[in-house]
Every structure is written in structure tokens, then in C-alpha cells.
């Protein structure tokens, strides 16, 4: 009884029990699924929108400005969402605008991720003065209001799509840096990273094989949120007249241009605003749905 090795009654019936229930697969509720549907719809529109749109974004075709929804211009066509302040088809412009607004925002977010994640992980891995100096500069950038920075950049470099992408990318790289650095620091203290270091692995291996794979999921969730911020940021710049320049269609400037119509009872400003809202709300719904499945369950046990 005292000596474990003396026990020859090896039975296979009592297998070692699993530690925890098998890992739950990521399942979305209907709300999350709805979000995915809407986001996928707009992403498809980024690619096919301009091809299926009845008119070109710059075509001035209708008889009248601020035509109501479901009106028709004889000989030209049907205006599902009416027309805007200079007699352009609103529905077509929204489809074209998807490409501009989402395309620019997506590229800028990618850029922000490229810069923010590289520097953030570098700061976490290198530590020391690299980390301190990068973090202080980053704090300084974050402390500047983003719209102000955008305003400054547009005034300095002129308003073009590359400027917009670079500006939004640079501004949001700062917040990505913070998150990537925090994630990186959490992972760097894990034993498996230490094991890799002691094994003599290169920095490259540690970053790409040990740290990044473990930061991928939280970064992906954050990408969604960041994309929403960038869409809102670019729309706001456009709303101030600093963003996309006419005649290109983008949702933010479309709201501004048609704002006056509200006074005449036209809803031309509402549709592009709704387009923004459906896209951003849907992304947030997905993100919420993913994070909800991992927390807050104890709170429901309160009585």
C-alpha cells in the first residue's frame, strides 16, 4: 500500500480525467450572425458596388435635386433613394461610397496595425530604453486629439487619399501600439517564451512563432473596433470638408453635402449616415458577441 510501484493492479478503466471541459467553439448568437451578414454585404459592395450601381458617382442626371425616394427620371432611370443636392442618384453614390469609405478606412487600419503591432511588439520584446522612449512618444501622440492631428496633417500635406490613409494610419497606430505592447508584455513573461530564449532561439523566432500567434486573436477583435474608429474618423474629416474631395462619393461628405436638405424635408443626408451606422454597428455587434461568450457569466448567478 505504501509503495506506488508495488501496485500491479493496473486497470485501464480509470483513465486520467480531462482537466476542463473541451474547448468551446466560437459560436455567435443571432445578433452576431446578423452583424456578420451586414459586414459581409458591405465588404462585397466594396468590390462590386461601382459595377452594379445604376449610375456613376459623379453623374448629374436627374431633373431635380433632393428628389424623394422611389422617384424616376424619365429616360434615365429609377432613383431608389432619391437624388442629392446636385441632382445625382443617391443609391449609386452610396454604392460607390462603400468603396471609398470602407476601402480607405480598411487600408488605414491595416497600416495602423502594421506600424502599431511592429513597434508595440518590438517595445515589449526589447524592453529597456527602446520601450521607454517608444512609450513616451506614443503617450504624447495619444494625448493629441485625433481630429486636430488630422486637421494639421491635411493642412500641411493637402487633402488626398494617400494623405488621409497615412494620417489615419499614424494616429491609430498609437492606440494599436498600446494594445500590442500590453499583449506582448503578457506573453513575454510566459514560461514558453523563456524556454525558447534559453534554447537560443533568435528574436525573429520568438516574435513570429511564440508571441504573435498568441496575440493574434485579441488583436483581430481589436482590429474590428479600430476599423470602426477609423471609419468614424474619416467620415468626420469628410464632414468638416477635410477628407475625400468631390466629386468622389464617400459617406461622411455625403451627409454634410445633403445636410441642408433636411430643412426641405429631404432625407438625402440620412441614407449615407445610415450606411455608416449599419457598417459600424454591425462590427461592434460581432465584437460584443465574441467577448460576451467569454465573460460575465458569474454575474448571472447573482440572486
Amino acid at each position: 500500500m505504501t509503495d506506488a510501484t508495488a501496485n500491479t493492479e493496473e486497470t485501464t478503466i480509470y483513465d486520467e480525467l480531462p482537466d476542463a471541459p473541451p474547448k468551446k467553439k466560437l459560436t455567435l448568437t443571432w445578433v452576431g450572425k446578423l452583424g456578420v451578414t451586414v459586414v459581409v454585404f458591405w465588404l462585397v459592395m466594396v468590390f462590386v458596388g461601382p459595377y452594379i450601381a445604376p449610375f456613376h458617382e459623379a453623374d448629374i442626371i436627374a431633373y431635380d435635386s433632393y428628389m424623394p425616394i422611389l422617384s424616376t427620371t424619365e429616360g434615365e432611370g429609377f432613383h431608389l433613394l432619391g437624388t442629392d443636392y446636385i441632382e445625382r442618384d443617391l443609391f449609386s453614390r452610396i454604392l460607390w461610397g462603400a468603396r471609398t469609405t470602407i476601402g480607405i478606412a480598411f487600408t488605414a487600419t491595416l497600416l495602423a496595425y502594421l506600424v502599431g503591432v511592429s513597434l508595440g511588439i518590438a517595445a515589449a520584446v526589447a524592453g529597456g530604453w527602446v520601450d521607454v522612449s517608444l512609450s513616451r512618444v506614443n503617450d504624447a501622440i495619444i494625448s493629441l486629439p485625433s481630429i486636430m492631428l488630422g486637421l494639421l496633417a491635411v493642412n500641411a500635406f493637402g487633402s488626398s487619399i494617400p494623405t488621409l490613409i497615412m494620417t489615419a494610419g499614424a494616429i491609430y497606430a498609437a492606440s494599436v501600439f498600446r494594445i500590442a505592447r500590453a499583449l506582448g508584455q503578457d506573453i513575454m513573461v510566459m514560461d514558453f517564451v523563456e524556454a525558447a530564449r534559453v534554447r537560443g532561439e533568435s528574436m525573429r523566432w520568438i516574435i513570429f512563432r511564440e508571441v504573435l500567434p498568441n496575440a493574434a486573436m485579441p488583436l483581430a477583435t481589436d482590429f474590428g473596433l479600430r476599423l470602426v474608429f477609423v471609419v468614424l474618423f474619416i467620415s468626420s474629416l469628410s464632414f468638416l470638408g477635410l477628407g475625400i474631395q468631390p466629386p468622389m462619393a464617400d459617406w461622411g461628405s455625403m451627409v454634410r453635402q445633403n445636410l441642408d436638405g433636411l430643412g426641405y424635408g429631404s432625407y438625402a443626408a440620412v441614407w449615407p449616415a445610415l450606411a455608416i451606422a449599419t457598417f459600424t454597428i454591425s462590427i461592434n455587434l460581432i465584437v460584443d458577441d465574441i467577448s460576451a461568450s467569454s465573460g460575465g457569466s458569474l454575474a448571472k448567478k447573482m440572486i
Binding site: 513616451r136 512618444v137 503617450d139 504624447a140 501622440i141 495619444i142 494625448s143 493629441l144 486629439p145 485625433s146 481630429i147 486636430m148 492631428l149 486637421l151 494639421l152 493642412n155 500641411a156 470602426v228 468614424l232 467620415s235 468626420s236 464632414f239 468638416l240 461622411g252 451627409v255 454634410r256 445636410l259 433636411l262 430643412g263 443626408a269 449616415a273 455608416i276 451606422a277 459600424t280 454597428i281 462590427i283 461592434n284 455587434l285 460584443d288 465573460g295 460575465g296 457569466s297 458569474l298 454575474a299 448571472k300 448567478k301 447573482m302 440572486i303
Partner: protein, 315 residues
């Protein structure tokens, strides 16, 4: 603990110094020569040179930075390039307006957000939580100008209760002033509260995963007491942080709202400054914004340190 607070303040000061460099260099990249802008196309080379010498613009960049930084410390913000007026006087009134707006919004939105955030966390998954969650999620997902526009549509156009444009006059009584500010106030309260409600709820629910919450449930503690006594005290750090971030936003990030309602605040002043290439003005405004942000964040961090019982009551 004092050491930590002290450290935090030092970090804040270093950040402010980095900010001053960024602001100075950042504004210097704005195109156009100030002297030419101020003196116009007709200026002679001599007058341009004289202007530059007077303003120290012919000095090397680092000298200009040093004298500018020195001016900041002594309260000499310089003179506006455009009008020649002192920047301090230009900013003074605007700063008051911005602080009034931010103050009233904070007074209403902070308590409201914390109460609603706690309420949502107290009844997770119920209809009240769902409404708050979805409502605030929608509000943070749409641009501010969208909300502002809707406010105008409802209160100014349809109901005709409030003026669509903010009007401020020194002769107004307090309540007249508030009435004149109503539209920007409502818009900002909605925008800021939505964010704070969400973060308060998330902060509480994050703490709610702790074993000590489960223990409280197993001790038969009521829902209300679990949230208010057990969870809230441990979530103060993150909640104060969110409040600070939103207050900083109120002072600086309200460009859109100030533009739409033509509210004479600091953000509007800075936009005008950028467009007229009024560098000293832009620099002064930017430093005020960043300073506010840094000070608020330091205060939040200090509050978090002070609210931590481990640090407050050492062994």
C-alpha cells in the same frame, strides 16, 4: 505609495515635454511662410526680413523652440499672427466657454453613466441591460455629426424647442446661457455617456469574474450589495480612467460639435487658427489640449493608486 504617485507625475511631465516638441515640430510643417501670410503679397523683402527678425523667425529651429517653451512657462503665449492680438486674450474667453460646456456635460453625464452602467451590470442579460447595451453600442458606432444632426432635426426643426445654433452672450443669465448651449450640451452628453456607460458596465463585469464575487454569492449577499460594495470598489481604477479619458475628450475632441452648433469654444478657435496659419495660436491650443489630457490621465492614475487598498494600507 507616494513614490508611485511621484513617479506617475514625473512620467506625465516627460510626456508633456515630448508633446511640446511634437506640437512645435508638427505645426512647423504647415506650409506657407508666416511673414508672407501676415504681410500679404505686396510686402517688400525688407519688410519681410524685419518682421522675421522681430518675431525671431530667422533664428534656428531649436532657438525658436526654446524661446517658445520659455514663453509657455511664463504665460506669454505670444501674439496672434493674424490679428496681432495677444493669444492669451484670444484663448481666455474661448477657454471659459469650453470649460463651461465640458463642466456641465461632466456634471450630468458622469453620475448618470455610472448609475446606468452599474444598473446594466447588476441585471446582466435582462431587458434593461439589453436596451442599454444595444443603445450605447449604436451611439458609439455612429459619427457625432450624425447624432448632432438628429438632435437638430428633432429639437430645432420638428419640435422647435431649442435654437439650432448655440448663442452665447456675456449679458445672458446663467439659465439663458444654458438654454443657448442646450443643443451642444445634449449632443455631448449622449456621446460621452454612451461610452462611459459601456466602460463602467465592462469594468464591473470584469471584476465580477473574481472568486471573491462567487464567495459573496455563496454567502447569500444580495445583488445590489454585491455590485455596490464588492465589485464597484474594485473597479474604481478602470472607471476613473474612462471618466478621465472622456473629460479630456470634452475639452479637445469636440471639434465637430462646436462646428455644427457654431459654439465659440477652444476647438473651433484652433481650427480657425490652422486655416489662417496662425502658428502661435495653434501651438497654444494644442498645448492646452495635450496638457489637459495628460493632467487628467495622471489624476486618474493617482486615483487608481489611492483606491488600491494594497497600496493605501501597506503591510
Amino acid at each position: 505609495m507616494q513614490r508611485m504617485v511621484f513617479q506617475r507625475i514625473i512620467i506625465g511631465i516627460v510626456t508633456l515635454w515630448v508633446v511640446s516638441i511634437l506640437v512645435f515640430v508638427g505645426t512647423s510643417i504647415l506650409p506657407g511662410d508666416v511673414a508672407e501670410i501676415v504681410l500679404g503679397q505686396t510686402a517688400t523683402p525688407e519688410s519681410l526680413a524685419a518682421y522675421r527678425a522681430e518675431r525671431g523667425l530667422d533664428q534656428p529651429m531649436y532657438m525658436q523652440y526654446a524661446s517658445w517653451l520659455g514663453g509657455m512657462f511664463t504665460g506669454d503665449l505670444g501674439t496672434s499672427k493674424a490679428g496681432g492680438a495677444s493669444i492669451a486674450s484670444l484663448i481666455g474667453g474661448r477657454f471659459g466657454n469650453t470649460m463651461l460646456l465640458a463642466g456641465v456635460v461632466a456634471l450630468i453625464s458622469v453620475p448618470m453613466s455610472i448609475v446606468l452602467g452599474l444598473l446594466a451590470a447588476m441585471y446582466p442579460g435582462t431587458w434593461i441591460d439589453r436596451i442599454l447595451t444595444f443603445g450605447t453600442l449604436s451611439l458609439i458606432s455612429v459619427p457625432e455629426f450624425f447624432i448632432a444632426t438628429f438632435m437638430v432635426l428633432i429639437f430645432a426643426v420638428n419640435l422647435n424647442w431649442l435654437p439650432a445654433i448655440a448663442h452665447m452672450s456675456p449679458e445672458d443669465s446663467f439659465w439663458q446661457t444654458i438654454g443657448g448651449m442646450a443643443m451642444p450640451l445634449i449632443t455631448l452628453i449622449i456621446v460621452v455617456a454612451a461610452q462611459m456607460i459601456r466602460m463602467t458596465r465592462a469594468g464591473i463585469l470584469n471584476v465580477m469574474n473574481s472568486p471573491y464575487i462567487e464567495m459573496a454569492i455563496l454567502k447569500g449577499v444580495r445583488r445590489k450589495r454585491i455590485i455596490l460594495r464588492h465589485a464597484f470598489y474594485n473597479a474604481i481604477g478602470p472607471i476613473v480612467n474612462v471618466v478621465a479619458l472622456n473629460l479630456a475628450y470634452l475639452v479637445s475632441g469636440v471639434v465637430i460639435v462646436e462646428t455644427i452648433f457654431a459654439y465659440p469654444g477652444l476647438a473651433k478657435l484652433m481650427i480657425d487658427g490652422v486655416q489662417t496659419r496662425d502658428l502661435p495660436l495653434v501651438q497654444a491650443c494644442a498645448m492646452i489640449f495635450c496638457g489637459t489630457y495628460v493632467i487628467l490621465i495622471i489624476m486618474a492614475d493617482v486615483a487608481a493608486i489611492l483606491s488600491n487598498p494594497r497600496l493605501r494600507n501597506p503591510k
